[in-house]
Amino acid sequence: MYNFEFEKPSTIADAVAALGVEDAQALGGGQTLIPTLKQRLAAPSSLVSLSGIAELQGVCIEDDGSVAIGGATTHATVAHEAASSYPALAALAGQIGDPAVRNRGTIGGSIANNDPAACYPAGALGSGATIVTDKRQIGADDFFQGMFTTALEEGEIITSVRFPVPLAASYQKFLQPASRFALVGVYLARFSDGVRVAVTGASEDGVFRWSEAEQALTKEFRPDALMDLQINPMNMIGDLHGSKAYRAHLVGVMTKRAVEATL
């Protein structure tokens, strides 16, 4: 690790101010950032911890029935507190990493990081969530812009993520055997006006919506509706843990399982 300053503000305004310093960086649970620092792959001048800001904590139900999760809420808290309001999302949070990771890692950190194999991006995109920052509100469709790339600007903080609650939803995660991130993860959400299917782990462009599957399932919500659909392996990730073709195949299998799980 290189040396850095450390700040732990207690309000969003103070955090935004602290992040105004050149090369300052937000610190969520540190589950991605701290290993990066230990490897000396990043050298922020200052780390601004978001864990002391009460406004960024917790799960609540908004007037319109959507579930809002504070940007610094840990995976463990979501797994627990969203269990009745949004069970599929709570289940997703409960499958991230191990207990230590879930007790430190936060939704804001995960979504800001947009790891191509992370779970929350699929949950947010699949639900059609709104990412709320200190400056604005961004729809998930606009927020995720490819591997490790998002609409966030320098110093912008995710203050909460607002999830409309679907009629039914399911996250099907096929584990990468070493990291246990998603080798392929499919988040399927069925709303009264249609079905959304978001896929993580598979694509070189990061999380994406599988629109053919969405259309087919919106028309006819049953596993067989997917029978003739195939994802093009071209843009899939091919690595040590699975070829492009294998990932493309898994997208189909996991989507089908998600449909079965919501029936």
């Binding site: 070493a178 080798l183 843990h241 294998y246 195949h249």
Partner: protein
């Protein structure tokens, strides 16, 4: 009735109290006043020529004590190899220099180029970043078969090629072997890879060295399985230090699995630097460093051919293996693909003609050396996979085929240089068949099928050779060390006992099991006996712990030393009891005169030995004896394993549903510890079979360089095991009749898993002959859809 103490009792592991409550004392817990920290600058290039190294900026950085490069080690010895293998033409193996810090070239990602010693670790890292190294990149030598071709890029410019040795064992007459195969009714051939593994003990390697200018003594604390061997190698071959001025301590060690047997550059460096800097020097490997500097395991590419006659008798076996040694020869690397592998190719079978061929290759990868099982898993995997394939091809039951070819008469001289002293392979197979409920398999398969899963049953046998010895024979085979062990039994005046052993416990439970033996011999409570190990200033010269040797070899030395102690104590007791020594009996800690009620307690005799007032004049005071023990032969644990898997045909995911081990370890001292050793071994074997894969790309970059990409088995990857060791044929040549159990699980389990997966796929109508390990979901799916 299970015993509650002594030999045969499942005494609780006393060392676990400190391990589990955070009271262990590991090398990284040791901090010496005034210590400096070393950080190694390691190559991120697999193969290259060092054009220049500029350390001037680094030397001026805050906190820097000294910067070292290969130049500082010119004239200092390199890391030695402990086993000289002779190739099939009688020539010695090619043995390149293995410098402490790179000289002229870097040869693998992780090869240390320079080392910075500084007041703090962060300062050392900062300074290492300021070292300017200019390396001309060379093509990386990665593929073993290509590396063996004339004209391949050389890993070592001063060698004639990349082949360390071209070795053969068994039938030397090619024509005879060809004839056996030509006349065979059936030949089964299989190409397979034994995947490269990283041992990944929980505790990474650490070294702390100090030097006293006043006494000229060195102390090295290091994460080692064999401190005396490290001291000998480092003093005699690397640094040229007087052995009596060097103390090597291996305190609590958090797992070894073979990878902490070897003498590593970092520990020699710290010892050297402690004097050069006149300050204690500490190095603790990060996990990333462990991946690129701990010796790796396995990495064989083999073709095996099995010839059978019309009655399915094995008539011939031939193997051709390329064994990866990596960039340099690690301490025992040369022995692994040869004497620890070729000799095991007979397995449990009476195949009359066997020829084993091994080309050992230098490549631009981390050195490869012994890892749990060392050579024997590689042999077992080939043999048990080809037998399984033969059974499928011939439509014979795999158990019947194996039984039919078992060695049943002992001693048995194999065609590959071993003499099995004893065994009962049908006995362990009988135990397996009932413990694994093979009769119920068909019903379990139907149940799996009803859930849309394919179920498979994999069976295999194994034999291993443990307690490698005797020294005179292994010396003839090229070992540059003896393979005996030693123990000193020091009885204290009050009757408690310290046993100083050459073996080193790094998870095996010696501190519990060894006292059980001594307690039984004397008839006192186990708690009166303490094992001392891991410090060259306290223990006699022993060879340490690896190869499942500790109880069979060091335990035997301990028995002999205890016998000497008892003999002497009987003389003292005879004097006290005014009886003849021949009439003295020792039972339950009491010396008595046979046929009388006269007796004296163990504690009275030991006190008399140290307060010799009423004492036999011809006997020396004190009660302390040492014995060295050099076994007459290896021991031969053997067994049969059964694995049941389910395969998800949609994803290729394999889950292990049931695993049964029936082992013959001879006599058992502590059944609970033996169960635990088998569990751990099977866990590692399942890791190899399903998950673990140390992979490089074609440029020599390590793809699986962290736990994000190197899949270690987790608790939920393995099933509850059923372990049976009730089939026992005691070893015929050591006093305890024990054989060793540390590696069996890792040797016997990979073929069981892979055989089971193939059985599942074939039962599902997929004619698949083989899938290389790790049998990952993507590989299974590719095989099913290939």
């Amino acid at each position: 009735m299970p015993k509650d103490s002594g030999i045969g009792a499942s005494s609780k592991r006393r060392e676990d109290v400190r391990f589990l409550t955070g009271a262990g004392n590991y090398t990284d817990d040791i901090n010496v006043h005034g210590q400096a920290y070393v950080h190694f600058l390691r190559s991120d290039i697999a193969h290259g020529r060092i054009k220049s190294i500029d350390t001037s900026a680094a030397e001026g950085m805050p906190g820097v004590v000294k910067v070292f490069t290969g130049k500082d080690f010119e004239g200092v010895g390199g890391i030695p190899c402990g086993w000289e293998v002779t190739d099939k033409h009688g020539a010695p193996m090619q043995e390149p220099a293995h410098p402490i810090l790179a000289q002229g070239k870097v040869r693998h990602v992780g090869d240390p180029i320079a080392a910075v010693v500084a007041d703090s670790l962060e300062q050392a890292r900062d300074a290492a970043e300021a070292i300017d190294v200019d390396i001309e990149e060379l093509p990386a030598v990665m593929n073993m078969k290509a590396a063996a071709q004339d004209g391949s890029t050389l890993v070592h410019d001063d060698l004639k090629n990349n082949i360390c040795y071209d070795w053969q064992l068994g039938e030397a007459d090619d024509a005879k072997v060809n004839e056996v195969f030509a006349n065979a009714a059936h030949v089964t051939t299989l190409d397979l890879v034994n995947n490269r593994l990283v041992a990944n003990p929980m505790e990474p390697r650490v070294a702390v060295a100090e030097y006293s200018r006043g006494t000229e003594d060195y102390t090295l604390y290091t994460t080692s399985q064999n401190p005396h061997v490290i001291r000998l190698l480092m003093c005699a071959f690397v640094l040229g230090l007087p052995e009596h001025k060097v103390r090597v301590v291996a305190p609590d060690v958090g797992g070894g699995f073979g990878t902490k047997i070897f003498h590593y550059a970092e520990e020699a460096f710290c010892t050297f630097a402690a004097k050069a800097c006149n300050r204690p020097v500490k190095w603790s490997a990060s996990r990333s460093e462990a991946f690129m500097s701990d010796a790796h395991g396995r990495d064989h590419v083999s073709t095996i051919e099995l010839a059978l006659d019309a009655d399915s008798n094995f008539v011939g076996l031939r193997t051709n293996t390329y064994a990866n040694l990596g960039a340099y020869l690690s301490t025992f690397s040369s022995s692994v693909p040869t004497w620890l592998h070729g000799t095991l190719m007979a397995g449990n079978y009476k195949t009359p003609v066997i020829q084993v061929n091994v080309k050992a290759m230098f490549t631009n990868t981390v050195p490869v050396d012994a890892y749990r099982g060392a050579g024997r898993p590689e042999a077992t995997y080939q043999l048990e996979r080809v037998v399984d394939k033969a059974a499928r091809e011939l439509g014979v039951d795999p158990i019947v085929l194996r039984r039919q070819n078992f060695v049943t008469e002992f001693p048995y001289d194999t065609p590959v240089a071993l003499t099995y002293d004893t065994g009962d392979y049908n006995g362990t197979m009988d135990k397996l068949e009932s413990a694994a409920d093979l009769a119920g398999f068909a019903a379990r398969r139907s149940a799996s099928e009803a859930n849309g899963k394919l179920r498979g049953l994999g069976i295999n046998c194994y034999i291993e050779a443990c307690g490698i010895a005797p020294s005179n024979i292994v010396g003839m085979l090229g070992a540059r060390a003896g393979l005996y062990d030693a123990a000193t039994v020091r009885v204290n005046a009050t009757g408690s006992i310290s046993v100083m052993v050459g073996a080193h416990s790094h998870g095996q439970g010696h501190e519990t099991a060894f006292p059980q033996v001594v307690a039984d011999m004397i008839g006192i409570d186990e708690s009166m006996i303490e094992i001392v190990h891991g410090d060259t200033s306290k223990i006699p010269f022993g060879m340490g712990t690896y190869g499942s040797r500790s109880l069979a070899v060091c335990g035997s030395a301990m028995v002999k030393a205890t016998e000497k102690v008892i003999d002497k104590a009987k003389k003292i007791a005879a004097h006290l009891l005014e009886a003849s020594e021949a009439d003295i009996e020792l039972k339950d800690g009491q010396f008595s005169v046979a046929g009388t009620d006269k007796s004296v307690a163990w504690g009275d005799v030991t006190l008399t030995a140290y307060v010799p007032h009423n004492y036999p004049l011809e006997v020396e005071p004190g009660l302390e004896e040492t014995a060295f023990y050099d076994p007459a032969n290896f021991t031969f644990p053997a067994g049969a394993y059964a694995c049941e898997v389910e395969v998800d045909p949609d994803t290729g995911q394999v889950t292990i549903e049931k695993f049964t081990a029936a082992d013959d370890f001879g006599n058992i001292v502590n059944p609970m510890i033996v169960d635990g050793q088998v569990h751990g071994g099977i866990g590692q074997g399942i890791g190899q079979a399903l998950l673990e894969n140390c992979a490089y790309d074609e440029n020599g970059q390590l793809l699986s360089a962290s736990f994000m990409d190197y899949a270690m088995p987790r608790a939920d990857d393995v099933p509850f095991y059923s372990v049976d060791h009730s089939s026992q044929t005691p070893c015929t040549h050591n006093p305890l009749g024990v054989k060793g159990c540390g590696e069996a699980g890792a040797i016997g389990s990979p073929p069981a898993v892979v055989n089971a997966v193939l059985d599942a796929l074939n039962s599902g109508g997929k004619a698949i002959d083989h899938i290389d390990m790790p049998v990952s979901p993507s590989r299974v799916w590719a095989a099913m859809n290939g």
